[in-house]
Amino acid sequence: MYRCVNCGAGMRFDIASQQLHCDYCDASMAVADHPDERVASEEDMFDVTVFCCPQCGGELMSTENAATDFCSYCGASVILEGRIGKEKSPDLVIPFLKTKEECQEIYKKKIHSAIFLPKEFKDPDHIDKIRGIYLPYWVYDVKQQGDVSLTGTRETSKYTEYLKMDCHIDNDYDGVTRDASSAFDDRISDFIAPFNTKSMRPFTPAYLAGFFADISDVSGDVYNESVKNETNKRTEKQIDSQYPGASINYPPDESAAFGTEITSMKSAMFPVWFLSWRRDDRVAYAVINGETGKICTDLPVDKKKYYLGSVLLAIPIFLLLSFLPTIRATTLVTVSSILSVGTMLIYAVNSRTVYRREEHLDDLGYQAKLAEEREGEAGSAPVPVEHAEAKKKVKSDAVKEIVPSVIVTIIALLVRFLIKPVSDIPYYACAIAVLLCSCYVFTVLIKKYNVFATRPLPEFHNRKGGENYE
């Protein structure tokens, strides 16, 4: 803890002035001027209090030891259990640039247009729980050097030309980043990216004063291939721009062709503002990049609000439909069937996304942690494992939820295009049946959407994080 030289109270890092500030005597001081700073910056370990949530096992560290009364991961209002420890200092840090108030405004603006949001999202008490947290990241420097020989084609008005191109590549990409916490979904880091790695500075615990930090628990090697691929793709684009009009065939092993190598890998802390909301066993996060203000929010829907809003909107649509020249029963069956098929397609796409997300199939950091736990090996990039059970459940749910609708729609289409009864009654009956099925699919869809827009409660009990405290 950084004590005030005037009064001895704890100082915090003030974002607006980018200095250490004492709230008791209003003293300010540049980070480098603090007497403790010279000592701290020379050590590669620093003192922390690690707070652990008794509900989800999530851990946050802080340089303060004041108790905190809610958990940012699971949204629980509990006193977190603190214990003193030592943590390895990361190499680099980007200090907070956006203040709490600025980020609350960004958040309010983002949720403003979400009309079906549960009302707690707009509650000032809830918004006040937004918490500044440093997230651990890996920062990579990548070098590419080598001569490449490429082939490609170019289309002119008369000919298809076959090309041969030779280039010499000498590229440096400094500051490619990946998040180093398995608790933090890779997807969120994609959405709040980028952090401007040019504004990184050497780490000192002074920047943590008044904030929390998440614990680094994903080995940097996990992302090697993904980092190399990212730079290879960028190089592809540069080469493309050198040969306008040509479509170039790139070799399958680009890293070998371009001579891509990771020359350095450093640990860093990047700032985010973090807000979590909880209902039953789901949580929703709002995460704001503390440097740029870029926001990523989970916005679930209040089902009651959604249904009420839909009924209200249905009234003018109904009036509009009755003003139209009479719709024939046969047309109604066709339109209903098209809507039904559309609804089912949305359902299918959503189902797949939810499944991939709940199983973390696209989260390299999470998969690495999982593989490590399973085999006790760390390092190489993991292959996502699909659980047969989870897959089976998705399928059986789908069967229950949309097969009736599929059958009814097929029957309606058969009646409409094959049986073609004279009377309108069978057509209306078909249309009503199809539309009722669609209503049902929509209720399921909204449930699915809420799963899609939220996350399962985190479970960190088996998380190994923080190897360094005693």
Binding site: E161, Y173, P194, I239, D424, I432, L435, A453
Partner: protein
């Protein structure tokens, strides 16, 4: 037209006479009155509850006497909703539509349906008015004539007309039940559309956007030095020219303002 309908003997219904007198009083132009009400006919069947009639005017003699009787029976169901008439004619110089329209206005001031087999234009035509028209809209008339014209092509005029009246009866009788079903399905359709629109709104407003590529690349320090040699053309292949096909569009719009549908046979 008179050629066909002038033969019928006058046995005016009470209502018609009263209305006729009323009209004559209101409109001193006698000719108009005579045009409209001068020709009366002998209905095959008169519905005791509604007073609507079923009549067969087989001027082209397409049906046997027996078939005429049977057809009139087939039309009885319709008289619960309006007048029904079968007409076969050879209206030289007229279109089926004009002919059907003129005859209709001569016979029915109220709800009615007229099925015409036009031997001059080789067309069948269904013309509706009043209450019946509310249920059997022009598009239904089209589908009914679509359904039955093949019988006329085969020369089976009785089945052609009988089937048309049968389908009309089904539509009319179903109309009462279909009406509330129609509103229910329209309501549900509106609800589904509202669900869909709201869902799209939700998806639209909740979307998190990733930063653009140039913002991402700006965030990292890039020192790119690509020395690109010229592209050497190693070979070329002449393109095969694909012929462009032109499609012609046919068809045209239908007319409005009257209520009927027909089909040639």
């Amino acid at each position: 037209m008179n050629r066909f309908f002038g033969k019928s003997q006058s046995k005016g219904m009470g209502k018609v006479v009263i209305l006729c007198l009323l009209c004559l009083c209101l409109f001193p132009i006698g000719v108009w009155g005579e045009e409209l009400y001068g020709y009366t006919y002998d209905p095959y069947y008169e519905n005791p509850d509604t007073g609507y009639t079923a009549t067969v005017f087989d001027y082209e003699d397409l049906l046997t006497d027996e078939e005429e009787e049977k057809l009139a029976e087939d039309m009885e169901g319709i008289t619960a909703y309006g007048n029904a008439a079968f007409v076969s004619a050879y209206p030289e110089g007229y279109s089926s539509r004009e002919f059907a329209e003129n005859n209709y206005s001569q016979y029915f001031k109220e709800s009615g349906t007229l099925f015409l087999i036009d031997m001059y234009n080789r067309k069948i035509w269904l013309y509706n008015g009043g209450e019946i028209e509310k249920t059997i809209t022009p598009s239904y008339s089209d589908s009914i004539t679509d359904n039955v014209y093949s019988y006329a092509s085969d020369g089976d005029y009785y089945t052609c007309a009988s089937e048309a009246f049968r389908q009309e009866t089904i539509l009319l009788e179903g109309g009462k039940i279909a009406q509330p079903m129609k509103w229910i399905s329209a309501g549900l359709l509106a609800l589904i559309l509202a669900f869909l629109i709201n869902y799209l709104i939700v998806r639209g407003t909740s979307k998190n956007k990733k930063s653009k590529e140039d913002v991402l690349i700006n965030a990292i320090a890039v020192a790119a030095a690509i020395t690109a040699g010229g592209a050497i053309v190693t070979s070329r292949r002449r393109k095969t020219r694909s012929s462009s096909s032109s499609s012609s569009r046919g068809g045209g719009g239908g007319g409005g303002g009257f209520s009927g549908g027909g089909h040639s046979f």
